[in-house]
């Protein structure tokens, strides 16, 4: 019951943030540019087209009403037409989002899958060499620009060792339509194409390492701090006194509560992760939403850019909602206290 009300509260908070986000985007897209209709249509538009767009956007009406129209468009999934592709922005984003989603998902798994164990190792051998090593790794991971790491990986794996592909999601010669989920890793299994699965994994590896490094370091650092914190708690001391074996103590009683702070931070880190995706997708020519965003920005393609910003924001809010629910499961105390 209390879990349900916790969920409702979190969901309401998310809606509130989304409303705020839509206001920010409205201001950037409709208020900041002198003539949003001309900007959205591009340089080659005729005066008639501009006039039509102006009345469509309701630019002569009061600002509040314009915002209402804007929201109406959003709820219908109407983000306007892209200048670059001459297609509805929604279609473009739907097609490119899967690639970004796959990359980000893989990155989060990597960051958690390696970051948390590294943190545990560091906490277990606190102030010994593994701790120092992990700390160094975390600092370097945090301060290496993701585009720089991406380039280094590209040189090393692509040019020096000739090990892994350095661009795209699949070889161009490979024909495969990811028609179920858009995620190659899942659709290739459904279609029984193991060759596609293998290639998809090979292509995913470098970009997700480049994107995951900073978050991985952060995870390791927080897991370490949080494990050390928990190990000082009374009930762990008690467990030790009762002679509960060490492996059980670490995995069962310490790991679960220690998991909460890294998980929560993961949610906030997610914003910088999306930001990082913009550069990593460019370096690896990853056909995702972020690369689409960059291409459209350089073309001053207003509708497309706003669509990408909006979807990034929604993505962030949804991931945080999911993480909150997860945290609520892992740590019952959170359900009552709330986390903010």
């Amino acid at each position: 019951m209390e879990f349900l009300s916790f969920l409702i509260k979190r969901a309401l908070w998310s809606v509130l943030v989304l409303v705020g986000l839509s206001m920010v985007i409205f201001v950037i897209a409709r208020v900041v540019p002198g003539d949003p209709a001309r900007m959205a249509l591009g340089p080659r538009a005729t005066p008639e087209q501009v006039a039509m767009m102006q009345s469509e956007l309701g630019l002569d009406r009061p600002i509040v009403e314009q915002y209402g129209l804007f929201i109406q468009g959003l709820t219908r999934g109407d983000l306007g037409k892209s200048l670059l592709t001459e297609r509805p922005v929604t279609d473009d984003i739907r097609e490119t989002f899967a690639a970004t989603f796959e990359l980000v998902l893989c990155t989060m798994l990597l960051a958690m899958g390696f970051g948390v164990p590294l943190g545990m190792i560091a906490a277990y051998w606190k102030d010994q060499w593994p701790d120092t090593a992990v700390r160094f790794f975390a600092i370097f991971a945090a301060v290496t620009p993701s585009f720089f790491l991406a380039l280094l990986l590209q040189i090393l794996a692509g040019y020096v060792l000739h090990l892994l592909p350095t661009t795209g999601r699949l070889p161009n010669s490979m024909e495969f339509e990811a028609s179920w989920t858009g995620l190659l890793l899942i659709d290739s299994v459904i279609a029984g194409r193991l060759d596609v699965l293998g290639e998809a994994l090979r292509h995913l590896l470098l970009p997700s390492i480049a994107l995951a490094a900073a978050t991985m370091g952060q995870m390791a650092r927080l897991t370490r701090a949080s494990m050390i914190d928990v190990s000082r708690q009374d009930y762990i001391e008690a467990a030790r006194a009762f002679g509960i074996p060490e492996w059980l103590r670490v995995t069962k009683y310490m790991l679960r509560p220690s998991f909460v702070p890294p998980l929560t931070i993961m949610g906030l880190e997610f914003a910088s992760l999306i930001g990082g995706a913009f550069v990593v997708e460019m370096v690896f020519a990853w056909p995702g939403m972020a690369a689409y965003g960059i291409r459209t920005i350089l073309q001053k393609d207003l509708n497309a850019v706003m669509g990408v910003v909006m979807v990034s924001g929604v993505f962030f809010v949804l991931v945080n909602l999911a993480i909150d629910v997860l945290v609520g499961f892992v740590d019952p105390r959170v359900r009552i206290r709330g986390r903010r």
Binding site: P43, R44, L84, Y159, H162, T166, T167, N172, S173, R295
Partner: protein, 518 residues
Amino acid sequence: MTHQKLLASTAAVAFLALGSAGFAETVVTMNTVQIFGTIDPAKISDYTDYMAAVNLYDGLISVDSSGNLIPELAESWTVSADAKEVTFKIREDAKFTDGSPVEATDVIYSIERLLRINQGPATLFAEVLTPGSVVAVDAKTVKFTLAKTFAPFLATVPAIMILNADVVKPNEGTDDAQEWLATNVAGAGAYSLKSWDRGSEMTITRNPEYYKGFLEGPIDTVHWIITSDEATVKSLAASGELTMTSQFQSPETYKALVDMGRFQMVSQDTGTAFYLKLNTKVAPTDDIHIRRALAHATDYATIREVIFPGGVLSTPLPKAFAAYHNDDIPEPKFDMEAAKAEISQSKYAGAPIPITLGYVAGTGFEEEISLLMQSNLEQLGFVVTQAADPWNRITEIAGKVETTPAVNQIFFGPTYPSPDSMFFTQYHSKSAGTWASMEWVNDPEVDAMIDEARATGDVAEQAKIYKALQAKLHEMQPDVYLLTQTVQHAMDKCLTGFKAVPMQSFDYDFTRYQWTCK
């Protein structure tokens, strides 16, 4: 890494290479640096648009690498004595991709639709063709009657792509099938559209039933990848996926590809000129002495030999138009002393002179040229601002005198094989306000000379006018003549057939290419 893994990955590469060498079919993968804007024959306008159009559609006639008109759908044509009537005889066996025959009515439909929509190639025929100008003599013969004498008319005909009227009409809707033809093809071309993602790629496949047939070792599939990123190009080449590059890669990338062993460089001189277009209506380039000073302050040899390969350009017209080229105008010389002398004669002498250098953002060689110009100009007392803009922004700022930078790096190649295409589009006041006419010449005398040449049927007479026009333009110096482009591609050694054509991108008509490896 273990030895076994290395072996496995080499094996995979070898397998891929075999695959592209044509077990089953021949695939040419090429990168191109700009997006395909449209495939609608009534709207195609730029170089990249034509790259797709010449493969998807056929015209009545086409152009070869020497600029000669060659038969395509039309097997022959006759021109009346006053050059006002042109009659085309369509090939008996000419057929569309759906198997139906190409007839005079299709030609009439295509041209009238072109004139109604009035975009793209239609600008070539303004005041020349009107509705009713084209009539069917019989099912396989069409007659064009021109409203006035227009000497370059025949040379512009290859720009007209013929639509299959029976297929297009049911899809006309309310917009003359503009929406339908934006994504569908209905023509007689040698290739069909297989997939097109406007931002990233296009794939076309061969029609085995094509009425003209193919050369031995035809290209079955052409796959264009849209990227200008050098790293991506190199990585595609290294993984065996790339067959030929675009013509705009850096010398370093070409070298890296040749070092891979699979590629060779294919270089050819073209009729495409590369200019610094000087805005003659804003400070400081409104002063003839400043314009001449800029021409003297340009290090031509370094640009041609190190930065971007090219030949000498000494007038606005490339030497490819040999019969029309004014050979009396001397080759431009890099001479800083002469530049100083010119500046001292200008009204801006004696104070720092602010000047803006514009170029296309993200093109490495243009930035290098801009830096080279800046370093020379700063020695002469200019205060330089660099303005890098994406291409579509340049087309926008070219629309107004005040927003056009003083100096602009622009490529311009013939859009049809006639000197008229070089002069009218760049210097005639009717063409003002486009990226090709950033000089804002607007000179009545120049206009008159261009019009006069257009109205003259006699080639020798035309040559005389064009030579005088070059002298006149040289006197005005609205451009710095950087070079004539030497087009370069790194191509798979198995691919042959590239020959530069002085019309748009007709050199990427893939029926002219062959795969020579078995």
